[in-house]
Symmetry: C2
Subunit: 376 residues, 2 copies
Amino acid sequence: MPVTIRDVARASGVHISTVSRTFSAPHLVNPETRVRVLACAEDLGYRPNRAARALITGRTHNIGLIIADIANPFFPPLIKAAESQARHRDYHVFVADTNEDAAAEEELVHALAKQVDGVLLCSPRMSNSLIEQLSREVPLVVVNRQLAGLPCVLMDVGQGARCAIEHLAGLGHREIALLAGPRGSWTSRELRRAAGVAARAAGADLTVLGPNPPTEAGGLAQAEQVRRAGVTAVLAYNDLMAIGLLEGLDALGVRVPQEISVVGVDDISLSRLTRPKLTTVATPTAAAGRTAVDMLLQQDTDFPRSGRGGGAAVAVGVRRTTAQVMLQTELVIRDSTAPGPYAGRERPGAAAAGPGPHRRADPGDPIVAAGDVVAS
Amino acid sequence: MPVTIRDVARASGVHISTVSRTFSAPHLVNPETRVRVLACAEDLGYRPNRAARALITGRTHNIGLIIADIANPFFPPLIKAAESQARHRDYHVFVADTNEDAAAEEELVHALAKQVDGVLLCSPRMSNSLIEQLSREVPLVVVNRQLAGLPCVLMDVGQGARCAIEHLAGLGHREIALLAGPRGSWTSRELRRAAGVAARAAGADLTVLGPNPPTEAGGLAQAEQVRRAGVTAVLAYNDLMAIGLLEGLDALGVRVPQEISVVGVDDISLSRLTRPKLTTVATPTAAAGRTAVDMLLQQDTDFPRSGRGGGAAVAVGVRRTTAQVMLQTELVIRDSTAPGPYAGRERPGAAAAGPGPHRRADPGDPIVAAGDVVAS
DNA sequence: TACTTCAGTGCAAAGGTTTGCATAAAGATC
DNA sequence: GATCTTTATGCAAACCTTTGCACTGAAGTA
């Protein structure tokens, strides 16, 4: 029933190898033959069997996308962009969810390794050494984690944290809390590091609360602690936690931003819809997805896997490309930040008078994908 | 370099067919042999090549998941549940996004047809006839669309709409608007139908506004129309639109629920975090994902594809299983609905005094997956 | 003892495609 | 006009696994 290359060959009166070449090496076949074959193929509704192709070429034209938590609104735009980019390059994407679990990550990479040409590891929770080990099993691109010798796509949350802290300090805040993310998160470590430095530089105190699950519940649960910590501003690991915190503070009767300012990270679409609208560090999620796919596929064409020929030509111990891309972030100032107790009280809308380095007048603007900095 | 079945056979001193059987038909091999083979396989890190397996069995152990818009928070829980369920059955999931575009849907099904064992079509936008046609190309399970002769997973939004309208009518609302969803959406048609019937029964007028894109922007854009329509309550196609509407009404200075009550559909996690918290019809999204996968895989074992043997034994024109599952929905009453102008003013929290058939005291409860009704 | 049954294993074909090599025909070079 | 290229195509092996059939030897049956 399924139409194979053989049917097309018969219909167009050529050998199957000619049909094969019509698709995979068109320049090798006579233009007249080519159009005839293509017509027959179209006619019969022929689609090459990718399993058969994979079997002989060693490339499946599939990639794996391993995500910490699909339900976290940070990821869908990334998935969407990655899938779209892959499709344009004639690749398909397996999506798998690890529920923020390191062990599940490892198992998934193993399960996928043999049937994909590469894996995108998004916000992994497992250890660096394990990731390195896995990268010997299958080409890997890591998103939101920096690893020497491995291709990575990073978002410059350090820079974002600095902007956020400077923004808050500029508004007069001297006691700031950081709601840390989950254990094992590179982003959380980076945020903490950069926020610490920036706070010191601005003469502010930074209290770290956490680790926390990167969810609304995580933020909500810390509301009480935040109030007790006596801070006037909070930088949360992500928007979800920030939103949970808004909720929790509201329940405690603490007004935002009048009593406490809150800054998130990610700029998920939701953050425009909270009351007050959330000031946040926008991360170029979709760009990260696209870039990661490109890097993976690039790596794959540079160092082809064991095809029929040539495999042995590649020296043992060959170095993979290790380019690391850092995507810029941007502070988006909305309504959840306002002058602290040491400055005069003003209406939230006028908070933009502070010396924060980045500013956006219209919070409704789409995020423009930031310029890319290539390192290593 | 990659370790094949042959390596395992050599290492354990048996024929490759014995190794194969160790994995795919363990009861056919001597227990002693089995443990030896398994040990060797484990030792060498052998993982069967799924492409080779697919080539001969005709089953890829992959399924396709076609989604109208991954970034719509309605879908991630469904994707997550489907992926998890599939994984437990040793299947992997291709995820693809159509951007709410009917043509993209068709193209994707075509592209996937040959390399998956079945496709889940979630909230399709294409025509019924096209879906039927595609179902002859590849086993299909449709979510959120009813098609005679095709397996479907439906959520009883009609029932949900009825509850919502009764709830609103019970609060005294007589002029109600329905914000319709996108053209081509079965859910939107169903909602409209059921809401119309319920409104008539309750002696209320129903004004339909739309179609609209199923996004915040879609709801936001209708705020002005809603105000001008002179209604006191609105049922929106989904929570996203409802949230956009909340936003839009706020911008217009219209208070919710004091002046206008708003009800959404879906109960996305976000709807607990708006101010006011959204009253909404909860749909069992995760259960739908699980059920759809089960139905697809069930269908697949009932009517195996052209394997090596047996294929010819299946009569032409064989009827596929066409079970349709209807999952129950539930009205979750929160703070965005309150008594209408014909009733006395009460504080929103007391709104639960109305005669709505479903009620939930604690809006923080997780949605319990509703019981399933099987039809056809 | 002679026969059947059965568990366990090996053999080899098959699945659809790609690709190095061989062949053939046509064109270029001297 | 003989030789060398070039271009287009055919041939057949290879990729890795599954599976119907055949074979062996041991246990069960009469």
